[in-house]
Symmetry: C2
Subunit: 295 residues, 2 copies
């Protein structure tokens, strides 16, 4: 199975309050993912707080991850940042450190135009010879990819995959069919949004880019494998066990809830980067209860 297929697990990046990465704690999280048998690690994704970390700390995180994973599982590294030159630096840093692939979001302040996003992605894809996954996440970047822009980008050398948001109408089959018709045969189409992505796998998507798998890889992989095997009943049964957690993700944001999970399970001593706050203390009993069904 190639990169950008199956279950990609996105861990937190444990760090202190000044944004210094705790590489030992990061490696402990990566060890759990490797042990689970997931298909890849999504390092420095949105869940990995890439947007809040400096170039130096991002490089430290990749170097440490490559060392501790030791080739047992491919590592996809988030290279998103506002400036094109800096995204190129991050892509080269990741390649030099030994990453297997890149994930790139059109991070924006000034809202971006299509041609700007096309040129930005082309510039970064040519900066390092690693396969690159387009990170389509309008919730954080404000940029909405048209299907025509995805088609155009899929023809750029090194651009090999896309990570889509859940379709508003829930019609994975139609969306995947339209994208497959417009992109090369080996272009991989995956989804993020944990509550809907198992259904995407059932309906033929190539990859589930999963937040929850970053900390709970075993139950997430069980769910992913049921969906990949087209076991609709099994997928529903396993997904139902996650429902209380999905509700909390919706209410507080998965990024915040993941920090609470890491704390409750004793997996890492770390807090979200301010201004992001952990979920309120009043939510903790519900998070604990949601975890009981899963572990």
């Amino acid at each position: 199975m190639s990169l950008f297929h199956g279950l990609s697990a996105f861990p937190l990046t444990p760090a202190d309050d000044d944004g210094r990465v705790d590489t030992d704690a990061l490696c402990a999280l990566l060890e759990r993912i490797v042990a689970s048998g997931a298909d890849s690690i999504g390092l420095l994704g949105s869940t990995g707080a890439y947007a809040f970390l400096s170039r130096e700390e991002r490089k430290r995180a990749v170097v440490a991850a490559v060392k501790c994973v030791g080739g047992r599982m491919p590592i996809i590294v988030g290279a998103g940042v506002l400036r094109t030159d800096q995204a190129q630096h991050l892509a080269r840093d990741a390649a030099e450190a030994g990453a297997d692939g890149l994930l790139l979001a059109p991070v924006s302040y000034t809202p971006l135009m299509e041609e700007e996003v096309f040129q930005h992605f082309s510039s970064v894809a040519s900066a390092a010879s690693l396969p690159l996954c387009i990170y389509n996440n309008p919730g954080t970047t404000k940029f909405v990819f048209s299907e025509d822009l995805i088609a155009r980008l899929s023809g750029v050398p090194n651009i090999a995959a896309i990570k889509m948001p859940l379709p508003a109408d829930g019609d994975f089959t139609g969306e995947i069919a339209r994208l497959r018709a417009k992109t090369p045969k080996d272009f991989a189409i995956g989804y993020s949004g944990d509550w809907g992505s198992p259904e995407a796998l059932l309906q033929g998507a190539d990859c589930w880019y999963s937040v929850v798998a970053g900390l709970l890889p075993v139950p997430a992989l069980r769910l992913a494998r049921a969906a990949q095997a087209k076991d609709a009943a099994g997928t529903k049964r396993l997904n139902d066990q996650f429902q209380p957690l999905w509700a909390l993700f919706g209410e507080f944001g998965s990024f915040r809830v993941m920090y609470a999970i890491a704390d409750i399970l004793g997996l890492a001593k770390t807090r979200p980067p301010l201004p992001i706050l952990p979920p309120p203390a009043s939510a903790r009993p519900r998070i604990e209860a949601a975890l009981k069904d899963l572990i």
Copy 2:
């Protein structure tokens, strides 16, 4: 007249393609603003590309601006950045360099919650003893301030003003009345969005935070003074002269058009930071024509 009143002019920050600020070119733009008699300089606003510049370059820009303006006009400095600790650093840097006030936007990646924005602003406002203007710009930050949050923030020491986006319904009078009722007597309420802000001044707003005044301070000030004098007919007549430019701002974004204006008028040799592109060459004759009516 106090800070955060009248016409605040937002220049570009000329820089090379690596994000190194050209302080000589910046000072030449500031000299034009000082000579015009505008009320303040909005340094490192969105138009000043603050989001694309490093802490070091932002500090260099403020130090240079304070030196060349030499106390002839107050300088308000943008201190926005994703992390709270870094925004505090920027606020202290600006204060140490001699800035007169701060402008702070809730820059976001992970969408922010109200309590996070409240704590972020309180932390930055307490980091430096400068009056601070809340920069409410959902178009770039994705965060929508509720009127209750504005009211709460207006009670925080040092938070002295707000820069509002144009109201969707165009009802400045109603919005200003509601905000005045909820905020302290000396809390200043201003607007950005050049095409609508003269009307805001006419209807009683305290300040027009103006993009165009960064490069064309003389005609912008004429328009602002007509509006401040409640001369509705004069305001309309002068604003009509700007209509071709406002249309171009709407079509390409004011940030991009400002770089083209600087180039056409020979005011600075600089390009927008990639991935931002200048307006297409085909738009240049229209920009030149729009300028003819104004200068």
